[in-house]
Symmetry: C2
Subunit: 439 residues, 2 copies
């Protein structure tokens, strides 16, 4: 049959009960005839608890040691999960990132996977065992030091392993039933998306959807790995993140729960896949920049040198009388302090008048491959938001996305209005949030 | 200057405060000009908590996975300790047993160290760093699996590392001030022993003293590593476990706190080093064994086949009328059930009459190299115990040890009486038990 990689997040293995439930699910997949590789995160709050311990010792832990500390978390969950599987009569062996051959760059805390050499995992499968691999961690290729991958790391481990082993599907288990057309906490009538293309999912991840990390989706797209996002608390089919031909390949490997091809063919591809939102950005306005060649370049070069990622940029039309203009841009709130400090240093060189900082903003994005060929989508989006009484402060677009920055208090209304305007509402409530721990 | 290996047990690093205190001690040693390698156990109750988690998942965890789980404990403590040292301005790097080159046999849960290849530790020292190594764990030489060393494992890691690196001293930090002439909880006037030979310490460890594990002392003797047992809660000199010439070598390396040579020379070597006791054994009596050649051999071969370690053996003089004899032996209580089951199976073959089991016994041992040349030591020991009103059930002796089995309730009285009879009492109370956690 096929080779299935499954990834379970911290909320799915929050306690002994959760670990046993997940073990049953894994054993069921094995008994269906598949080879199974499991990637697991640290249990529930373990990472927070370890971080707290470190803070008790020092406010500034050395990154190498902080990685060594955090990797204890997956070590615990993976060993317990292997035990729970053994209890059900199957052989399971757990492997650290290093043992599983997850080779990374050497930046502690945000290492990137360079290569995966899964020799020991392959051997475990050949011996009939289920392999359990620690997510979020690896070993640096040059220095042989233990590293962690940063946010979304376990998902990326799973997809990278799936790619290196030629898996037929990478199942990402979480505490919701899949990817929805909007956050169900804001739009209760949000619909589960049965399948979404890599490009659309990338835009969603970039625009605030937390369900899959950007890097993980990029990896999947590059190696044509179908991702199946689903809940570990139910047996429902979730969301397939893949282009149609990739899904077809998975189907031929008899991987369970692939979308029905007839249904898929009959289903009209919607213009819009969903509405994302993001409350993690801030806006900086540089007021009264002299309208001379190179001033904007100077500003953004300064920010680039400080390693600050800019998202959206708006430059006002220069005032004829004053010969000055305002430049606004959005950036991650965590970089706000750093950006303001860097810009303050070039006030005299640039000759701008004032710096304004606003972190009470939110970004709302409309995503859909269909908007390429459907004129008027952006207009309908802006109109819906305006009719909801929300003022648009900034706009940016791509081929398959339109984003606006609005006042933070207007985010919910804007998301709901856009969702409704593009007929995304389900007739009944589909989204359930599972998890005994409330995470 | 010298190379110092320091080992800190779980009670010394029970919380963030303890870790910071230990870090200061390590930095002080480094600042005194020594290279420092630190071996650390898991924090306080971590091992118990992890064991409890495993029990919640399965009553019988696979040994490979149980080792994987437990080794998370030292990973946490060693990373935190390295952070605390960094906080004090020194560079520290933590290493797992595997990274430190601790190569073991492949028996999970009770692996033995085969070799130590401390290339990375040596490199860390060469770079001026303090190396922190996880105790209790290693990697199996043939299968490359993570292993744990079983009871006393961290002490053994420390001594093995000290041996492989040619350290000048191995300091074992604990929550008492050293090795005492008796357990201070039983004999409040017990004296700290300034220096004790490897042979005597081996006998003490074998006779119930918990301060150092047998394997660790054996390792130290084989490689001539002086062990300095002392408290992490005070700066007092503790007990040097080493033969005199080994101490002399350490002194020449300018290792701090070596015993004063003049004091040592002036000090008359006592006949008796101390009194140990052990409440972990049981006694089995095989009643009415036919007095024929090979019957005793059959009994003990059966026990050996069941991998049960016998301690003391007594065979009564055969009754002339009956042609039968009784054989008693002591063994670890944990093996009692298994031994009784094995012996019951050979009842008909051997033709004995009855099996008796008694786990309400205790063993009291007198240890001292001086007894070789002092006749009458055993007689004085037996007399002291008799005068304390305690009945002696079994006796065994070595060149430097006399042990008796008594009723469990008589252990305290026997220890105190023997301690007093050989003038071991201090004039004032020396022993202090430290530790904020009460462990």
């Amino acid at each position: 049959m096929g080779l299935v990689v499954q990834k379970y997040g911290g909320s799915s293995v929050a306690d002994a009960q959760g670990i046993k439930r997940v073990a049953q699910r894994i054993v069921a997949t094995k008994k269906a005839g598949h080879d199974v590789v499991v990637v697991v995160s640290a249990m529930g709050d373990t990472t927070d608890e370890l971080t707290d311990l470190a803070q008790q010792v020092t406010p500034l832990p050395p990154p190498r040691e902080f990685d060594m500390l955090l990797t204890a978390g997956e070590r615990i969950s993976m060993a317990l999960l292997a035990m729970a599987i053994a209890q059900l009569g199957q052989v399971a062996k757990s492997y650290t990132g290093s043992q599983a051959g997850v080779l990374t760059t050497s930046q502690h805390g945000r290492a990137k996977i360079i290569d995966v050499t899964p020799g020991r995992i392959r051997q475990a499968l050949d011996e009939g065992a289920i392999a359990i691999v620690a997510g979020f961690q690896g070993v640096s290729q040059d220095t042989k030091e233990i590293t962690t991958l940063g946010r979304g790391g376990s998902d990326t481990t799973a997809v990278a392993l799936a790619a290196s082993m030629g898996a037929d599907v990478c199942e990402i288990y979480t505490d919701v039933d899949g990817v929805f057309t909007a956050d169900p906490r804001i739009v209760p009538t949000a619909r589960r998306i049965p399948r979404i293309s890599y490009s659309e999912m990338l835009e969603m991840a970039a625009c605030g959807s937390k369900i899959l990390h950007l890097r993980c989706v990029e990896y999947a797209r590059r190696y044509h790995i179908p991702i199946h996002v689903r809940s570990s608390f139910s047996t429902k089919i979730g969301t397939w993140v893949a282009d149609p031909e990739v899904v077809e390949t998975a189907r031929r490997a008899h991987v369970t729960d692939t979308p029905d091809p007839i249904e898929e063919a009959e289903m009209e591809q919607p213009i819009i896949s969903g509405v994302s939102h993001d409350r993690t950005e801030a806006k900086i306005t540089v007021v009264g920049v002299p309208d001379k060649v190179g001033e904007a370049a100077h500003i953004f070069r300064t920010l680039a040198d400080a390693e600050i990622n800019i998202d959206m940029i708006v430059q006002n039309v220069s005032g004829v009388a004053t010969g000055r203009t305002d430049i606004s841009f959005s950036l991650p709130r965590v970089d706000g302090q750093q950006a303001m400090t860097s810009l303050a240093k070039i006030k005299d060189t640039v000759g701008y008048e004032q710096l304004l900082y606003d972190d009470r903003i939110g970004k709302v994005s409309l995503i859909g491959a269909g908007m390429r060929t459907n004129p008027g989508v952006a207009a309908r989006f802006f109109q819906a938001i305006s009719e909801a009484g929300v003022n648009i402060e900034m706009i940016s677009t791509s081929e398959i996305r339109v984003s606006v920055v609005v006042d933070e208090d207007g985010v919910d209304a804007a998301v709901a209005a856009a969702h409704h305007a593009f007929d995304l509402d389900a007739t009944e409530v589909e989204a359930v949030v599972y998890g005994g721990t409330g995470r």
